[in-house]
Subunit: 136 residues, 4 copies
């Protein structure tokens, strides 16, 4: 496991919310991080689908980690702001969130993420996010 992935795994392990959701890190590359999560019964909204905040949590975290891959070692990032457009109900076997860097920067990293639901052999995007991560 290389240095970048070790930093992501370390940061991920500190996020109790990710454990609560049953999420895991699927892959780490420079500028792109992929997470996977079930849609647990504890994370639903009133429609019976995954809560908007579940899709948000996964997209935001994947995006934040993607920013971390382009920061100097030892840096940490927090979300300055992020916006989510919901595209479809979060339903199916599991969710995949892909976070990516749109524009690196010393103080602010502009990021995006897409959250996709997988159901058997079908998949569809359930949310897209665009935001900025701040070095702290």
């Amino acid at each position: 496991m290389d240095a970048i992935e070790a930093r992501i795994q370390d940061s991920f392990a500190k996020q109790s919310l990710m454990k609560t959701f049953g999420a895991e890190v699927v892959s780490v590359a420079e500028g792109e991080v992929v997470l996977k999560s079930p849609i647990l019964p504890l994370a639903l909204q009133h429609t019976g689908h995954g809560h908007a905040a579940l899709s948000f949590a996964l997209g935001d975290t994947a995006a934040g980690f993607s920013a971390l891959t382009v920061m100097p070692e030892g840096a940490e990032v927090v979300t300055a702001e992020i916006k989510i457009n919901l595209l479809a109900p979060a339903a199916g076997d599991y969710l995949i969130a892909r976070g990516h860097v749109i524009k690196p920067g010393r103080r602010l990293v502009v990021v995006g993420a897409t959250v996709t639901a997988f159901d058997g052999d079908r998949q569809r995007d359930v949310a897209v996010l665009q935001g900025s991560m701040m070095a702290v």
Copy 2:
């Protein structure tokens, strides 16, 4: 308990994520709904503070409920899109989320929310949200 509050409590009870976070409905008025939540050990981010997605969940849900108070009976709303600016770490005894209607509409209701952390006798805003709720 009047009709609007009954609808909110009913919708709230269906959101397992709110129960997971230990959140409760504090007050319901036309165009404004207030939620309260602890910052549970299961909802943290890597910095040890409440996860951005916790503030998002509370603000988004309070805002969605505020939209519901101006919709016709029997209507349901889901989040079309919402944006959050994080202002300070989510730390303290508990969080209060106030959701309010900015502009009612038949199809889209524009909403806002503020999430505030209370710590002893101190309080500070930790997030502001602006978004739109869609009737479904």
Copy 3:
């Protein structure tokens, strides 16, 4: 004219787009700046109303100036990101944009703005904005 207002007027004078739109500074206070603009025939969208970008320009600029009022002397700000929700067509005699500071900061100032159309003795909000201004 005090120092803050002089800085705003100086910055405003450098923005040729504000002159193109016929906009002017109405008032400057710490944390709040108000602009006024006609809806000129050169600034319309396909519906015959003021273009979404006109409301954006006024709201963004008012918000940016409000951030400038809380920055150290000599600082300059640019928009890092901003989001606009359109509430109603921009029509009437003129527009008023009120920008305000939500949270000051050394590097990022979180801001909001409301754009209101005035038509005879009627007025209605046409847009709300939420964003962040970055010191440069």
Copy 4:
């Protein structure tokens, strides 16, 4: 010129702001529309670069047109909400705005846009937008 492109050109011709900025339609395809614009002396901000509202206007309009390409004939769209992250100063010979459909829908079309500055043989992205267009 096919039907879709004719509708775009017709809508574009009604937008006086696009003419003010000297913008033109470069290409129209289903789900993607490209605009081009100079950075005229009348469209600057205080830093001497293109105003954030110029990038916004081009990105928003390109995104709105991309939504129009997936709507039934006779439909019209207006911006419900849109968010812009500014990536770099808008400087150079001209700007290209590419709007695209992220998710079609009967009532709401989720869209994105990228605005790129071209300067001699160099190019760089100056803004990204994510928003929703509403059928009216």
